[in-house]
Subunit: 338 residues, 2 copies
């Protein structure tokens, strides 16, 4: 069974050990476990949405070989200078469409709104568990190399520790807020809107931009214009949810004009109800953090100089990337809807 | 020309922009620029070592398309919330052997000692320039896919800012030292020696271990047993240099039994003579930092969960990896020496 271990020099948690594959789930080669009719190849659904004819439109279930598991005890323990704990948490898979081999940007706005609603509800539900400090939501899209990858899906990961990137972001957002009493992201949006060099798109609710210090060519962030720290609470209103779905679809389509391979990660506030945090540590989260979605295209060739944690090298500055993405018409609604 | 940009949310510097290719250097397809006889395909040597017959044994020259350049002015400038500066620094290539298609572990101990001596001397020389805050030394080894990659070489990178990993390591080493008045790495070595579960090899001067929270299977760190913060100062003594070369060769051979693809990064103290640091910020570096070499094998498949900065997932715990590496005999001195 995997466990969490803390690297004392970097304070980064890693997960190590063999993942347990659920014993009652078989796999059949070349058969997509995410397609309708093959539900026997996945654990049973935690949540399903259905159309008027009763067929499922989205499905959520536990990962077959989870990284984090609900069953385990946390059991944090020290061993001299080392810290470890069990991988208590949850690892769920969200199948975003019954259709095989459809890119996320080709889903209809209605379907994307449904997907986001499901994400929202799963995050809200998982955050009821006060042992989970964070719920991650991410997706890897590649040109189909395996049946699984060819079927559009996301991962939802509840963990008893923060992913490293969230530790870092929260730290610097807090430091900024302490100094300025303003949200770092709100100030970024203000400057980006004024300079108008890196903005890719904007509607009444959201803005998409190529971040000033983009790690990779055509990196895009989507942020709400009005300050909000929590993705899952911010899209409770159906109109706002739909606004995000349409905006997100357009952004994805722009990026897909460049490459079909990218990673999408939602950055949202940690579980402010979690047990064990120092009493005052979340006091300002609602003010100093700003949820957003990061789309990171994987253009061929490794852009990392000096191993994985030296410098990123990005040959295309954000302004050039924004200019290109801005000019790309997202295209008409594809015929193949849901 | 590339520039350095600071991401205000992560405080990470990235390099962005088109790299300038040196105009006077031509490239000839399928011809290895690192082979004897092809020196015209590289910038002229900064340093060369030669054997008794006058043929070069190692060569150092500027990278053809440098990430950091000595010529530029630093010119740090703000733009609202953003910070940027020129990529003032140096980017040198060290060709480790005249022989094409030889893996680093196949070099003789003498040749490896020569390579390390050259690294040492280049780092010491570059640190004379008080505008450079760090000198990175790293190597990427892959199964030959291009003539360049098939010819064993390293990169030496002088930068006006710290790579992110060094920021993080120095921060936590300092915090540890402030609390305990002991070096975090010295304590690690003490515990590892006692537990003897993750030690791969040891001689009178150095220890090799699989770090407790290894990011990837078979990750290996090589550390000096006696406390020393600076790689380049610690190997001034020829006997110690030779001890490291022999030990390093054995470690490499063990890892190569698993995979020929890995990254090697030397972690050493920053340039404590650099201008512009707060006066007291380096006071304890000599006490709280411990230089080491990190070897990171790239076993097929991406082990990063949740994008590049979420959690690493490593299916093989450090103890298992150490057991395997320990059992692998490094093998006899290969016939093809230097």
């Amino acid at each position: 069974m995997p466990e969490l271990r803390l690297n004392p020099v970097t304070r980064r948690w890693i997960v190590t050990g063999k993942r347990t594959v659920m014993p009652d789930i078989t796999e059949e080669a070349d058969l997509c476990p995410f397609c309708p009719g093959n539900e026997r190849l996945t654990p049973k659904a935690i949540l399903e949405t259905r159309d008027e004819r009763g067929a499922w439109t989205t499905r959520v279930f536990h990962d077959r070989a989870p990284i984090f598991q609900v069953e385990a005890q946390l059991n944090p323990r020290g061993e001299g200078m080392y810290d470890r704990m069990n991988t208590l948490g949850a690892h769920e898979v969200l199948v975003e469409t019954p259709q095989h081999n459809v890119r996320m940007s080709s889903l209809s706005v209605e379907q994307l709104a449904r997907v986001m609603e499901v994400c929202r509800d799963r995050i809200l539900d998982l955050k009821q568990d006060r042992r989970f400090r964070y719920v991650s939501l991410y997706k890897v899209q590649r040109d189909a190399t395996s049946p699984r990858l060819a079927h559009s899906h996301s991962h939802i990961l509840a963990s008893p520790v923060l992913p490293q990137i969230m530790q870092v972001e929260l730290r610097w957002c807090q430091a900024y807020y302490e100094k300025k009493e303003r949200c770092l992201f709100c100030d970024t949006i203000r400057q980006e809107t004024e300079q108008d060099q890196r903005v890719v798109d904007q509607n009444q609710d959201f803005i998409a931009l190529c971040p000033f210090a983009s790690r990779s060519p055509y990196e895009v962030w989507i942020l709400p214009l009005a300050h909000a720290s929590s993705f899952e609470k911010d899209i409770r209103d159906p109109a706002r949810l739909r606004s995000l779905a349409g905006f997100f679809k357009n952004c994805l389509a722009r990026v897909e004009n460049i490459t079909p391979a990218f990673t999408i990660v939602v950055h949202t506030e940690p579980n402010t109800q979690a047990r064990g945090w120092p009493k005052d540590s979340w006091l300002t989260i609602a003010d100093d953090y700003h949820w957003h979605i990061e789309i990171n295209p994987e253009i061929e060739g490794d852009r990392r100089v000096l191993g994985s944690e030296g410098f990123y090298f990005n040959p295309i500055p954000a302004e050039e990337a924004a200019l290109v993405l801005r000019a790309l018409e997202p295209g008409a609604e594809p015929a193949a809807g849901e």
